[in-house]
C-alpha cells in the first residue's frame, strides 16, 4: 500500500522541506519514499503544494496526489475546497491554526484536526518553526513510521543544534496528537 500525503502552505514555511524530511525519515526507517513540490515562481509567500508517498516497495508513480490519506494545511486561510479536494471519508486533514474546529469551514469529506503548531513552536526552546511540530503530528497518522526515524533525519540533515530544536518540536507535535488520537 502506498500512503499518500499532500501538504499545502506558502513559500517560506518549509512546506517542500517538510515533504522531503518526511520522505527521508521514511527511508531512514527502511521504507521507500519520494517527495516533490509544486509551485509557481519561487517567491516567499507564494502558494506551495508538496507531495510525499511512502511505501514498503519502490514507487513508480510520478503523478501528483489527488486522493491523499493525509492533507496538511500550514495556514488557516488555505483551508478551502482548493486544498481539501480529493479527501476521502477516512482522510485526515491536519490544519496549523490558532482557531478551533468550530471556527473553521467544514470539508465535505475527511476528518479535520487542528493544531496550533506555530504557537507551540514559539514556546519551545530552540524550535524556530511550526513545521517540525507538524511533522511530529503527521507521524501519528502514517503506518509504520517511528519518531526515531524523523529524529535521525533531522540529525542527518542539520547541525546538531538545529536538529535538536526540530526534534523538540517534532516530539511535542507527536505527543499532542497521540494524546488526542490514541492511535498507532
Amino acid at each position: 500500500m502506498i500512503f499518500e500525503i499532500r501538504l499545502h502552505g506558502i513559500g517560506g514555511q518549509g512546506v517542500a522541506a517538510s515533504a522531503d524530511l518526511l520522505a527521508f525519515a521514511a527511508v531512514q526507517g527502511g521504507m521507500w519514499a519520494h517527495s516533490f513540490p509544486f509551485f509557481g515562481t519561487e517567491i516567499r509567500g507564494g502558494n506551495v503544494t508538496a507531495f510525499t508517498r511512502i511505501s514498503p516497495d519502490p514507487i513508480r508513480d510520478r503523478s501528483f496526489i489527488y486522493s491523499p490519506h493525509l492533507i496538511v494545511i500550514f495556514s488557516t486561510h488555505l483551508l478551502s475546497e482548493d486544498t481539501w479536494k480529493g479527501a476521502r471519508e477516512e482522510s485526515v486533514i491536519l490544519v496549523n491554526t490558532s482557531r478551533s474546529i468550530e471556527e473553521l469551514p467544514t470539508p465535505p469529506k475527511g476528518r479535520l484536526i487542528v493544531l496550533d503548531a506555530d504557537r507551540i513552536a514559539d514556546e519551545l526552546p530552540g524550535c524556530r518553526m511550526g513545521n517540525s511540530v507538524l511533522l511530529g503530528a503527521m507521524l501519528t497518522f502514517i503506518p509504520a513510521m517511528q519518531l526515531g526515524s524523523l529524529e535521525s533525519a533531522f540529525l542527518e540533515k542539520f547541525s546538531s543544534e538545529t536538529a535538536q530544536g526540530n526534534i523538540t518540536g517534532a516530539r511535542e507535535g507527536y505527543q499532542r496528537l497521540k494524546a488526542i488520537e490514541k492511535v498507532v
Binding site: R60, D61, S63
Partner: protein, 405 residues
C-alpha cells in the same frame, strides 16, 4: 556504494562528480540551476577537481565546453528550455567537431507563454543537431545514464556529444533513494578521460572546423550518421558492463508486459513509471496491454522497436511534445519505423502533459480505453488525440474540440 535520498538535480551533479569531469561550464536556468550549484560547491570544497566556468550565457557555456573538449578535457554542462535554445548554434559545432560532451537537460517548455514546467519540446527541438539523446524515468536512471553516456560517446566508434534528459520538477525536484556508487567502482566502468581524437596542442598544431565544399560535406554528415548508429553497439556493451558492475540493467527500449499484448503504449520519461501502474491494473482485469519506454531517442532504435512491436495490433504513442502543424515527435519516429513492416499495427497519437500538466493514471487510463476502442473498431478514427485537454479553456477561447491531423 550508499543509498542516498537525493533529488534528480543532485543525482545529475553526483554523476558529473563521479565521472570526474574536468570542466563544468554553465549558466543558471530553472529548473536546472541546482545541478550547477551542487557542482560549484563540490569544486569549491575540493570534492571535485574541475574548472568551473560561470559563463555569461548558455551560448558561451556551450562554447566553453567545446573549447575544453577540444583540448581533451571531459566537459559537462546542464541547461533547460530557453537556455538550450540559445545553445542551439553551438550544438552543431560540438557534434561536427566530434566532441564527447555531456549535457543534462532538465526538460522545460519554451516561451511564449512563459512556463517553467516540463515538456520535451526543448530537447526534441535539438534532435537534428547530431547529439545522442537519452530520456530517463527515475533519479537513479539520471545518475546511471550520465555515466553510460560518457562511456559510450568517448568510444572511438562514436565520438559525439550527448544529452541526458529529465523532466523539470517531475524528476529534477523529486527526491527518492538513489544508489550512489563510490569513485573507485565508477572508474572500473568509466576510466579516466583519455581522448582518442585529435586535440588542440601547441606542440602539434592542427586545423579544426575546416570549410567543406559540396564534394565532401555530405560525407561528413554520413560519417556522423554512421557513428551515431555505431552507438547502439557501444551502448549494448556499456549496458552489459554496467549490469556486471552495478547490478542495474538498462536497454535502449525498455518493455513492460508486452510479450502477448494486443495493445501497447509507447512513451518516454517519467510517465512510463505511472503508465506501468495502469498496465498492472488493466492486466489484473484481463486486458492484454503493455508498455514500451523509449530510453534512447538518438540514435532512434528503429530495429529494436520493429521487433518489440511486431505482434502488437494497436500502438499508442504518448508524446509530451508536439511538432506544431504535424503530430507528436515520438509518434513520427515510431510510425515511420514501422511503415515498411508487412504487418503493421494501427497507430494513434496522444499529446499530453504539455507545459507541466500532470500525466496521471486517469490520463493514461483514458488513452488505453481509446486504444481498446480502436482495436474493436479495427480502424483509427482519430490520429491525433488530446486525452488531458482542458475543455473549459477551449470553450472560453472558442477553439474547436473536434479536430484531427
Amino acid at each position: 556504494m550508499a543509498i542516498e535520498f537525493i533529488s534528480g538535480c543532485k543525482a545529475a551533479a553526483e554523476a558529473a562528480r563521479l565521472a570526474n569531469v574536468d570542466v563544468v561550464a554553465a549558466y543558471p536556468i530553472t529548473p536546472q540551476t541546482s545541478i550547477v550549484e551542487y557542482l560549484a560547491k563540490d569544486v569549491s570544497n575540493g570534492r571535485l577537481k574541475a574548472e568551473m566556468v560561470l559563463a555569461e550565457s548558455e551560448h558561451s557555456a556551450m562554447s566553453a565546453c567545446v573549447g575544453a573538449s577540444m583540448v581533451g578535457a571531459r566537459a559537462f554542462t546542464a541547461t533547460a528550455s530557453q537556455g538550450l535554445a540559445l545553445m542551439h548554434e553551438v550544438l552543431f559545432y560540438a557534434a561536427g567537431l566530434r566532441l564527447p560532451i555531456v549535457s543534462v537537460i532538465v526538460n522545460r517548455s519554451l516561451a511564449s507563454p512563459v512556463s517553467i514546467f516540463a515538456d520535451f519540446k526543448d530537447s526534441l527541438a535539438q534532435r537534428d543537431t547530431g547529439w545522442l539523446q537519452f530520456y530517463v524515468e527515475s533519479c537513479q536512471e539520471i545518475l546511471d545514464s550520465v555515466l553510460i553516456a560518457y562511456r559510450v560517446i568517448e568510444d572511438s566508434r562514436v565520438l559525439l556529444p550527448a544529452f541526458v534528459c529529465m523532466e523539470g520538477f517531475v524528476l529534477s525536484h523529486l527526491s527518492e533513494p538513489v544508489d550512489v556508487p563510490d569513485v573507485q567502482t565508477v572508474s572500473k566502468f568509466l576510466p579516466a578521460c583519455d581522448p582518442k581524437y585529435p586535440t588542440l596542442d601547441l606542440k602539434d598544431p592542427k586545423i579544426f572546423n575546416v570549410m567543406a565544399f559540396p564534394d565532401t560535406y555530405e560525407e561528413f554528415e554520413r560519417d556522423k550518421q554512421i557513428s551515431m548508429l555505431n552507438a547502439f553497439e557501444a551502448l549494448q556493451e556499456a549496458y552489459q558492463d554496467f549490469e556486471k558492475i552495478f547490478g542495474r540493467k538498462y536497454q535502449d527500449v525498455e518493455t513492460y508486459r508486452v510479450e502477448d499484448a494486443d495493445i501497447v503504449l509507447a512513451t518516454m520519461g517519467a510517465a512510463a513509471g505511472t503508465a506501468m501502474m495502469v498496465v498492472d491494473q488493466l492486466r489484473s482485469l484481463g486486458e492484454r496491454v503493455g508498455l514500451v519506454k523509449v530510453r534512447t531517442f538518438r540514435p532512434f532504435p528503429r530495429r529494436q522497436l520493429r521487433e518489440i512491436l511486431s505482434h502488437a495490433r494497436v500502438v499508442g504513442v504518448l508524446d509530451r511534445d508536439l511538432s506544431i502543424g504535424s503530430t507528436g515527435i515520438l509518434f513520427q519516429e515510431l510510425q515511420s519505423s514501422l511503415y515498411n513492416q508487412p504487418q503493421r499495427p494501427l497507430m494513434q497519437n496522444f499529446i499530453a502533459g504539455l507545459g507541466g500538466r500532470d500525466i496521471h493514471q486517469g490520463t493514461i487510463g483514458a488513452i488505453f480505453q481509446s486504444l481498446k476502442d480502436t482495436l474493436q473498431k479495427g480502424f483509427v478514427e482519430k490520429n491525433l488525440n488530446w486525452p488531458d485537454e482542458n475543455r473549459e479553456v477551449l470553450s472560453i477561447w472558442g477553439l474547436p474540440v473536434d479536430h484531427d491531423d
